[in-house]
Symmetry: C2
Subunit: 368 residues, 2 copies
């Protein structure tokens, strides 16, 4: 990390506070070694991804691991039946109203574990310890929880905020390259929403981020969490403004669905979606910063991410038919009133949402 | 209904407004013919109890019945798998974010349909049309939704308020006698919480209520809804004061569990629970109105309800071992900190909650 970067020094933890209606509050601690704070945050049971537990379980206090419910890896955990089994396990463990759960794992663990916490006895508090970059950036704040139905991803869920988040960047050292890249896709999305300052910081730190430098990651994760916290505090239940967080996601979800879930990591799809959304904004004539497409493409490339559909197709040897992508968009839950709505950038820090576009413009983008 | 009763005249509808944090609002309309207002409240799909639909479906506008999802009767609908199927059906019907569901049926329909509305796309609004007295009194306001796990009733759920409630007392005419009695048990509970005025009104209207008089029922349902709305507005998520609504329920749930779910209707168990709670308060020395036990017993008898365990046993030829009841209480989710807490009356309108009691006093009550 360059000495010119402001903010906390190496190894320091960063605290971010999220205030929500009704006096609810979440404190998110980001940085190398954040899990050491788990000692002061007792939980009645731990819901954990088996792989994360094997790799980093020793970072958790013994008391956290006394009653551990292991989840199958990734999206496998996010089925209706799997959620039902998890809830049964909580009941079998005799957990009472007001007891607190600990979650340890990636986005899927947060999604299914958070939903279990939302539903068990109509809601118990939880402490979230996201172990992937994607989860630290995206899922550690916002309170969206979900499982999948056969028909579509995340079709069933609830809003349930964690009481406490510990985002330890040391655990990111063991992330497979693809998963690190996936998280960086969400980082770039968040930087586009935040504005020129965070975008410049991500550009400057790109090499350190790619190497998994825990201090560089901490700075960027903290900025992303602050950005998301600001948006979420304004609009917790996505009635309006929160929709900007879906930048790149209408395209991204379509790519995930057509490629087959799990084939291309979520954040990589989002990266491609950012390229598509910027391209679409240019075609619609709403893009104001005309240098943005090139700047975005350069940044994504420097992070090892594809900046458009063509790059994704060649990098991964995938067939993604435009007509299939278009159809998949109709199944996306961001639809409203029977018409697709897009989140499109005007410039870094200036994002439109709820934009209806011409099918002709959309077709050109999808045929890239 | 006697001419001395104040309030709206025969056939009139009563509107009650419930204001909740975050600008949310529910309007509850109670009275004979309330379902005629469904015309002005469009829904995208109807979730309905098959029996209620067969008996009273013709009272609903045609537009409501265009896309109907029928539920199995009663608690059968409230399984995890059943909820999953309902959610799949909503997805198959292509329902989008913001679409509104209509619910038509008793408490189970409200519980499972309300939970589906809470979870589908992380929450869609719903209009509730409760068709049993129990559901009109208890489930039409409060926003508690739930399904059962094999281990216990209502172990999984969410708080999700209906946007609109239409409680038509004309549909209560076809209620089986047991279900009417069940609703009257909840009426008496609510009257005890509300205070001397509603208690006196229920006493005065008892014969008309037993006959299913739709105007008498409307007056009492409206008063009960007002009482519950007042408590819920203070404490939507049952952090404290809302617990008073569980008066009679720690005993009631234990009776339901030991007798076997569905054997004794919920409100009948609550009626017995009211007798037990009053008895327990007397034994603990916290009862202030020493005439209450006799007054309550008289009222319950006049409504055809058992006022204690002994009466229930003889009326229904049931075996309810005190030790089994005591064990069932430990599984009740009102437990907290490892110790049973009770909701006990001091007098009509003066209810304590979170009361720890001596096991010896409890044993005597259970051995009645």
């Amino acid at each position: 990390m360059s000495a010119a970067d402001p903010g906390p020094g190496a190894g320091e933890l960063i605290d971010i506070r999220l205030d929500l209606p009704g006096g609810r509050r979440t404190t998110i601690t980001v940085g190398p070694g954040a899990l050491a704070l788990a000692d002061g945050e007792p939980v009645a049971a731990l819901v954990a991804d088996a792989r994360a537990l094997a790799l980093h379980g020793q970072r958790l206090p013994t008391a956290w691991r006394e009653r551990t419910l292991e989840l199958p890896p990734g999206e496998e955990a996010k089925t209706w039946a799997g959620l039902g089994e998890l809830l049964e396990s909580l009941a079998e463990a005799g957990l009472e109203r007001g007891c607190r759960l600990g979650l340890f794992g990636g986005g899927a663990t947060g999604d299914v574990g958070g939903l279990a916490a939302a539903l068990y006895l109509r809601g118990v508090p939880f402490v979230s310890c996201p172990t992937t970059l994607l989860a630290q950036v995206d899922a550690s704040v916002g309170g969206k929880t979900a499982v999948n139905l056969p028909r579509a991803k995340n079709l069933v869920g609830a809003f349930h905020q964690p009481q406490r988040v510990l985002a330890d960047t040391l655990v990111l050292a063991t992330l497979p390259r693809d998963e690190l890249a996936s998280g960086l896709g969400e980082v770039v999305k968040t930087a586009l929403i935040a504005g020129p300052q965070l975008l410049a910081r991500v550009e400057a730190l790109a090499p350190a981020l790619l190497e998994g430098d825990p201090d560089a990651l901490a700075l960027v994760v903290a900025d992303c969490v602050r950005t998301k916290a600001r948006v979420v505090a304004e609009d917790e239940r996505e009635a309006g403004r929160r929709a900007v967080l879906n930048l790149g996601h209408t395209f991204g979800h379509a790519i995930e669905a057509v490629a087959g879930y799990g084939i291309v990591p979520h954040g990589v799809c989002v990266a491609v979606g950012l390229g598509c959304a910027t391209d679409l904004a240019a075609r619609c004539g709403t893009l104001e910063d005309l240098a943005l497409p090139e700047r975005l493409a350069r940044l994504l490339r420097s992070l090892g991410l594809p900046a458009g559909l063509a790059q994704l197709r060649s990098a991964r040897d995938l067939t993604l038919h435009p007509a299939e992508l278009r159809r998949a968009m109709d199944g996306d839950k961001k639809r409203s009133g029977g018409r697709l709505r897009f989140v499109l950038p005007r410039a870094a820090g200036a994002i439109d949402h709820g934009v209806a576009v011409d099918e002709a413009d959309l077709s050109v983008v999808l045929a890239d």
